[in-house]
Amino acid sequence: MRVAIDTGGTFTDCVYLRDGAIEVLKIASTPKDASVAVLEAVARIGVGQHLDLRHGTTVGTNTMLERKGARVAFVTTEGFEDIIAIGRQTRAKLYDWFAPVPVCLAPPELRFGVPERVSAEGEILRRPSEEELAALAERIGQSGAEAVAISLIFGFANPETERRLEAALSGLGLPVSVSHRILPEFREYERGATTVVNAYLAPRIERYLLNLQQRVHDEHPGARVDVMQSSGGIIPVRLAAQEPVRTVLSGPAGGVIGACRMASQAGFPRIIGCDMGGTSTDVFLADAAAGGVARTRESNIAGVPVGVPMLDIHTVGAGGGSIARFDTGGMLRVGPVSAGADPGPICFGRGERPTVTDANLVLGRLDVSSFLGGGVALDRPRTERVMAGHKGALATVEDFAAGIVRVVEAQMEKAIRLISIERGYDPREFALVPFGGGGPLHACALARALRIPKVLVPKMPGALSAVGILLADSVRDYSQTVMLAGDRLPHLDGYFADLERRGVEEFASERLQGVAECSIDLRYRGQGYELNVPYDVAQPENAAAAFHDLHRQRYGFADPQRPLEIVNLRLRMVAAAEPYEPVWTAPRPGDGAAACFATREIFFHDRFVPARLYRRDHLVAGDRLEGPAMITEYTSATLLPPGCAAEVDGYGNLILHIAEEAV
């Protein structure tokens, strides 16, 4: 049985396929040791033979955010020890004289130079002697380092010296991460930082994953354990333990894949996703015709660049727990500071500062009985009382609350504009797919502001990450910087054959059969940035044409006469997951009256109006409701303003039709 388990801060979501349908189980997370909840979930489902467990983990993210990783020794070419700290020389905030001094994951006393040098062409200009290597091993052994990252200048162009170093350090008993394997691509800082992050995470993640695997095997001999990567593909647990840098955004990647799969099944190949959680909102854009969600190799995790492929997710510091305040000029601001779990929003009983969740409660937009599964008591009188003390010049608490909601929605709108309009896409051609605890609550307002006509609230919006993990393909990415002239385009088969051999071997050792997808990063000679285009060994010239087209689309011009440069080769091994056909029920027109359980006053625009409340799990395919209404479910609620309508499709998704706001 295939089971996906996604560990979150509060809940551990578990989804699995039973008789062709996806079932959900939510249990409380166990922050001290996340694997306890994972095993409990597996036990509760009662899997039979052949457990195929897929896991989304936050251990990597948390280790980065809390800065609780290993003491990393950074080993590089002599004369370049500081590059890992210098970065790109830029500062994060332009107008802040008091920005904290960035903390480098490899502290100065753990940076080691090696007397060696490789040229851009891969020629070894200087080889370290065996004595020099032995001396280095000795120094590192005495340094107190808990993990080692090796990244030499141009080490990827000829890995001989990196390999010798790795061998020389193998006796130390420390996990060693090597740049030509983690990220064999040029740009020394980004490659070095990615390798250091890998080393930083290695001891902790390895311990966690191997322990989890052991305990799963104790209960379920022969079970397969896989881990979700930040790129949206699954890898075997053994590889994840070796290359933990590929798992730092494991959970969010699941949500993205889940949203894309559900939407494309429902007939929406182009979507803008919006996952609103407690402290932040993630947005992304996916176009099935263009290969789904864009991936980026320029991610930044807790201030450190990470160059391995990740889904391109943009995060804003606006979530349910974001705190509202008036600044010194009297303008209302929301976030990025969050009330977090402690003290939490006012309505949870201890918070003293107004949050987005408090504002939604005051406006009647939270269903007290179903909020977070009914597990949290919400204190509305306290919320109104405390908020009244913070409302500044505004007339009423409701005005204040409505203002908070509008401001936070304006921030989410800005984030969506950034990933769509600023990158050359028109949001009106996309469907908005909200999920996470808060997404469906704000979706109609966002869609209106962006003139997006349709919203899809997927089935199980609160467990979408786990759904995505369940349905994801197995994927492993390989790359290599080559920096060749464009006329070498027809002669890349040798390079690709090397990459493919590695991929096939690794997949075979995991009992997987994969297909290789080749692509190359091209640029006009002299440019400083590259574009990735598909590469077909049989028809290499297509890559050049695709590059000119993409350049024109992305940057508005192309010049087929200009010489090209082949920068990186990329190979993606993909083993498709077993196909999943969701259960489809023929819609029968209905009004959902059977699911309506109450009528309450909800604040829209400038006043309270009576609105019907529906239970989502009582709605059936074909039901159509008109706003004002709220559709509640476990961990989430969809708000339907006056003028908007909701329809349940054959898969159980809610399709919202957005009418322009009558002001």
Partner: protein, 539 residues
């Protein structure tokens, strides 16, 4: 109609909307421009102005453009009777520009009526500025040691590049004939026109959303809001006059030091400040003369930093400011002074002087001097690997000054710039160089209770004969410390010519031909320290 201050919600949403217009223009410009300087180093700015040419939103791009963008729009409005469909272009530092490579375009937005605009006065203006990699003149790159503006490139007063929607081809041909890389310039100018149109489209959406009185009320409210934020800061600064001076080593021509001095007069009761640069040197022969727009940018930058990172950059930040400069001085250059280097060097020194004076008023809120030079390095020659000519240009970061309570950051771009470095591996692929060392310049930060950040060391071996041009400062006058912290180390450059045993130290500003196999070592200044030194354990 004036809205009361009780509309903090509508204000927040309006501010977010206009700011995203400036950001979207910037994204469009970056996407469509041809040259790496715009695409990668992001040397551009986009902004939105109201009908009275007051800036209401500006993207977070280049601090050195902050105060000078408004001057471009004012100059265009003064010179041209705008009609719908017009776009103005300008770069003359003596008519709304800064230095010649910065070319600015200005587009008026009229409120559409049923047939023609409801008024012949624009309701908004849009501006897009970009630093062009070459605008002609005696040096490739137009940033060399010229002696008068006529040597620095093509000068463009405010004129219409687009008239009634039609591109003015004759004017464009004239400009392109005067530059070294016309194809690239054409692409970048097209990108600027495109960015202006993106801004126009978004402003028209604003106009559609709000009626005129409502829109103008929101604009006033936004301007009042930023004024209140800056005044709230000014009220916290004690009354008094605070004087400071600092020096540029030289203009690269005479060797004479150049004095910049300032008096800040705070009046907390009135929440106002006067910034008076009296006593600063007269303008000089070399290309480090700043036009007043640069000086205003330095003042704008300092005020904006006082307000916190989230404050929007609008015209009213300057309302409480009275700026006094003497025409013909180094901070208010008059024609025909050469100005190219003022953006990169003089602007930094002005910030140093402003902070030094400010530190007397609010010592706990002001950092010691940062590196104070962008250490501009240009290397040109023919690449033996390809036989093709190359030109390399890069700035190098230094140490940040120590802050009360915090050490300075090492090897980081400070104040008026924030451009990215070129990776060593990218450099060796692209140019006939071999980088031998790239490291912190340990110990170069000033000592003190809090230490200044260290500068950087970069050592290059040239694999081709080349022309090396250096434009750097802080060789003689070092970055100051505050409250007893000591100075940061001076910058240095050393050249070991191939076959010669002794390395020679290079002056801060020079241009020379060197043979293949020579080694160049650049050491950038450290930041000043803050506070009386106490012995500290090394971390």
């Amino acid at each position: 109609m004036k809205l009361t201050k009780n509309d903090p919600v509508e204000l927040a949403i309006f501010q977010s909307m206009v700011h995203s217009i400036a950001e979207e223009m910037g994204a469009a410009l970056r996407r469509t421009a041809l040259s790496p300087n715009i695409k990668e180093r992001r040397d551009y700015s986009c902004a939105v102005f109201d009908g009275r040419a007051r800036v209401i939103a500006m993207g977070d791009h280049m601090p050195v453009h902050l105060g000078s963008m408004p001057m471009s729009v004012e100059a265009a409005v003064a010179a041209i009777a705008f009609e719908p469909g017009d776009i103005a272009i300008l770069n003359d530092p003596y008519a709304g520009g800064t230095h010649l490579p910065d070319i600015t375009m200005v587009l008026p937005v009229f409120r559409p009526g049923s047939e023609r605009p409801v008024s012949d006065k624009p309701e908004f203006y849009i501006a897009a500025r970009a630093h062009h990699a070459d605008v002609g003149g005696m040096y490739a790159g137009s940033m060399g040691p010229a002696r008068e503006i006529f040597q620095e490139g093509v000068r463009i007063p405010p004129v219409r590049i687009v008239r009634g929607g039609e591109l003015n081809r004759e004017l464009l041909d004239l400009i392109l004939l005067n530059v070294r890389t016309p194809k690239e310039r054409r692409g970048d100018l097209d990108a600027q026109i495109g960015a202006c149109r993106v801004g126009e489209q978004r402003v028209l959406e604003l106009i559609e959303r709000y009626d005129a009185p409502r829109l103008s009320a929101l604009v006033e409210q936004l301007l009042d809001y930023s004024e209140e934020r800056v005044r709230a800061e000014l009220r916290t600064i004690p009354a008094g006059a605070f004087r400071a001076e600092d020096w540029l080593d030289s203009d690269g021509v005479t060797g004479e030091p150049i004095r910049i001095c300032v008096e800040l007069r705070f009046d907390p009761a009135d929440a106002a400040v006067t910034i008076d640069f009296k006593g600063s040197s007269r303008q000089v022969a070399g290309a480090v003369n700043a036009v007043r727009a640069i000086t205003l940018s330095a003042c704008f930058y300092v005020l904006r930093c006082l307000m916190g990172d989230d404050a929007p950059a609008t015209a009213s930040i300057l309302r409480p400011l009275t700026l006094v400069t003497e025409p013909g001085s180094i901070v208010d250059a008059q024609p025909p002074a050469a100005v190219a280097g003022a953006n990169v060097e003089t602007s930094q020194r002005m910030v140093d002087v402003l902070l030094r004076a400010l530190a007397q008023a609010i010592p706990q809120r002001v950092p010691a001097a940062s590196a104070g030079t962008m250490s501009n390095l240009t290397i040109g020659g023919v690449d033996p690997r390809t036989g093709e000519p190359f030109t390399y240009y890069e700035t190098a970061a230094g140490g940040m000054g120590a802050r009360p309570g915090l050490d300075g950051i090492s090897g980081v771009q400070t104040h008026m710039t924030n451009s990215l470095n070129t990776p060593v591996e990218a450099l060796e692929y692209a140019y006939p160089f071999h980088v031998r060392r790239y490291a912190y310049r340990t110990g170069s930060g000033g000592a003190g209770q809090f230490r200044g950040g260290d500068g950087l060391v970069r050592e290059l071996e040239l694999l081709a004969d080349a022309e090396v041009t250096l434009l750097a400062d802080r060789r003689v006058f070092r970055p100051y410390g505050l409250e007893g912290g000591t100075e940061g180390a001076a910058g240095h450059a050393w050249l070991a010519r191939a076959g010669e045993p002794q390395a020679e130290e290079l002056p801060g500003k020079c241009s020379l031909r060197v043979p293949r196999g020579s080694r160049l070592r650049l050491e950038t200044p450290g930041g000043g320290g803050w506070g009386e030194g106490v012995e500290r354990q090394d971390s």
